[in-house]
């Protein structure tokens, strides 16, 4: 059952929504859908997580919270917006307290449609998100190598030059 190369850990944030998608994300962890068989762990700590799952839209109150969670997550990271509210605001897009979908605050990599998003669709979304994570990771590795080369040069310099 090796669907993924690594075990992605995810952090879940519930924005403003009806909770339906929130419950479905939780249902993904329970026996019928059991995403833990792929090594997916729902962690509470953003610093441990590779994937950020957001259900529900963003409002004034949750905007700084979401931004903070996103900044706390280590690179490379993937954001998955689950449900119609998270992608576009859905039926609540005309409410006075709505800022819009998750993409109004942070960049989103995968949109999972559905009201409420079905567990199968959430699993599909996570699979898709991990493909994005893999490409991001490759790009990030090249970036890091470049950065390390620049960083190490002055360190080796005194050794090379004779006193």
């Amino acid at each position: 059952m090796s669907m993924f190369k690594r075990s992605p850990w995810m952090v879940h944030y519930d924005g403003a929504s009806c909770n339906g998608c929130d419950i479905e994300v939780l249902a993904c962890l329970t026996p019928r859908y059991d995403v833990e068989r792929f090594g997916v762990i729902n962690t509470g700590n953003p610093k441990h997580a590779d994937v950020l799952l957001i259900t529900g839209y963003i409002n004034e109150q949750s905007q700084p919270v979401v931004r903070q969670i996103y900044q706390q997550m280590p690179d490379p990271k993937v954001v998955i917006a689950i449900g119609i509210c998270a992608t576009s605001g859905g039926i609540f897009s005309e409410c006075y307290n709505t800022k819009g979908g998750v993409d109004s605050t942070i960049p989103v990599d995968v949109y999972v449609p559905g009201c409420a998003a079905r567990p199968e669709s959430i699993i599909d979304g996570v699979v898709k998100g991990l493909a994005v994570l893999e490409t991001k990771r490759a790009a990030w590795r090249i970036e890091r190598k470049k950065r390390n080369r620049v960083f190490r040069l002055p360190f080796f310099k005194p050794k090379a030059s004779p006193p």
Binding site: N59, E60, Q61, Y96, N97
Partner: protein, 124 residues
């Protein structure tokens, strides 16, 4: 059997006395609700064994103000803070007063100031 409901119209000045009457009769507070019309229409609902009584009172939309009933019914603080935040009703002496921080929303009094209801089109 369906509980009978009745709506009693009262003046906003004798609110506390009427609420105290309900408390003495052993009724419980069910809800407080406001509606934006030409004026603000408030309904205080109380339930006893005989049925539900809705005390109905009217307030002006401009700078509405009311005394708090939290001294009589402590559970009313949630409704009163809600009315303060959504309708901009200034409620005096709430026991647990959030001072407008109950719902942290982007616009003040969204149900009162920008409400479209009175300008709505009538059916042709």
């Amino acid at each position: 059997m369906e509980t009978p409901q009745e709506i009693v119209t009262i003046a906003s000045s004798d609110l506390l006395a009427k609420v105290q009457e309900q408390k003495d009769a052993g009724h419980r507070l069910v809800q407080i609700c406001a509606t934006t019309l030409e004026q603000l229409e408030l309904s205080y609902s109380f339930m006893g064994k005989e049925g539900i009584t809705h005390l109905r009172l009217l307030l002006p939309r401009d700078q509405p103000s009311l005394p708090s009933i939290t001294d009589i019914y402590f559970g009313a603080f949630a409704y009163e803070n809600e009315m303060h935040d959504l309708f901009g009703i200034d409620i005096r002496d709430i026991r647990v007063d959030y001072k407008g921080k109950f719902y942290k929303i982007s616009e003040p009094a969204p149900f009162n100031a920008g409400c479209l209801i009175p300008t709505r089109k009538q059916p042709s």
